[in-house]
């Protein structure tokens, strides 16, 4: 994923209203008025949020008669959630590995349990 698109995805996801709109679209395509309903927000304001999401590639929009429908696009989100989703898992697993490393350092203070020896200090 290009950095620029990832920037756009992160920027789009940084807003709670836009995250809520994406969550609503997981239930299926929706019109602007349907998307505006849960928010104390005008339809033009919601349309501005939809434009940001569309530019980030997170949704696509189509027309059905006079109604404009928004559709969730999952791919950019999948790339972004690689980093969004697993903060806790990242640190929990890191700390487990740190436990192992610290145990091996206490057995062998000079260095590492695999890879090269630690350099002299």
């Amino acid at each position: 994923m290009a950095d620029k698109q990832l920037d756009a995805v992160f920027g789009a996801l940084a807003d709670p209203t836009r995250r809520a709109i994406l969550a609503r679209l997981t239930d299926g395509d929706a019109s602007v008025s349907e998307l505006a309903a849960p928010f104390a927000m005008s339809q033009p304001a919601v349309s501005r949020h939809l434009k940001v999401l569309e530019q980030a590639g997170l949704i696509s929009r189509s027309r059905q008669a006079t109604i404009r429908l928004s559709h969730l696009e999952a791919d950019p989100l999948r790339d972004a959630t690689r980093w969004l989703a697993d903060y806790r898992e990242y640190w929990t697993e890191s700390f487990e590995r740190l436990d192992e490393l610290l145990a091996s350092l206490q057995d062998n203070p000079r260095g590492a349990h695999h890879g090269r020896d630690a350099t002299d200090r």
């Binding site: 994923m1 950095d3 990832l6 920037d7 992160f10 996801l13 940084a14 807003d15 709670p16 995250r19 809520a20 994406l22 969550a23 997981t26 969730l72 696009e73 999952a74 791919d75 989100l77 999948r78 959630t81 690689r82 980093w83 969004l84 989703a85 697993d86 903060y87 806790r88 898992e89 990242y90 640190w91 929990t92 697993e93 890191s94 700390f95 590995r97 740190l98 436990d99 192992e100 490393l101 610290l102 145990a103 350092l105 206490q106 260095g111 590492a112 349990h113 695999h114 890879g115 090269r116 020896d117 630690a118 350099t119 200090r121």
Partner: protein, 159 residues
């Protein structure tokens, strides 16, 4: 050793993590500041890690990458103040995929009877940046939305 305690209050742009280790603070400090040691523990096992730079002194920079089959992910930051066992480590963090989205992290190594209590205090410019990075929602109101998004991206086939 033990559970990672994770505190992320709704509406406050901060994440605090607390974890006990059966090793003295001096060893944790080495694990944090020696590249050969850092790359043996930081990040999930499935990701290979490269430490390009780690200059653990006031104003010194660090830069590392996690790699998997899909690509590589670079992170960078700067040490503020001289890292030490007593004063801990104060540094900035930035994911290079989202330039300018920086947070400040203070790591403290508190000596305990059984070893060390590591306290990580991460402070973000806004709640939104915290939640974007800290999937947040876990402990905040965005939780349900993000879980649903997670489910979604887990189940949908590539277009």
């Amino acid at each position: 050793m033990g559970e990672t305690q994770l505190i992320a209050e709704p509406g406050i742009p901060q994440v605090v993590m607390i974890r006990e280790f059966d090793a003295p603070p001096e060893l944790l400090f080495r694990a944090y500041t020696e590249p050969e040691l850092l790359k043996q523990w930081l990040g999930p096992r499935r990701l290979a890690m490269e430490v390009e730079t780690l200059d653990a002194r006031h104003g010194g920079a660090w830069r590392f990458a996690h790699r998997d089959d899909d690509g590589e992910y670079w992170f960078r930051g700067v040490y503020h103040g001289t890292p030490s066992v007593e004063d801990g480590i104060t540094q900035t963090w930035e994911y290079e995929g989202a330039p300018g989205h920086v947070h400040l992290e203070v790591a403290s190594f508190e000596r305990t009877d059984s070893g060390t209590r590591l306290v990580l205090n991460a402070v973000y410019p806004t709640v939104e940046t915290r939640d974007a990075e800290f999937a947040a929602g876990m402990e905040s109101g965005a939780r349900e939305s993000l879980e649903r998004l997670d489910e979604l991206v887990g189940t949908l086939q590539p277009a």
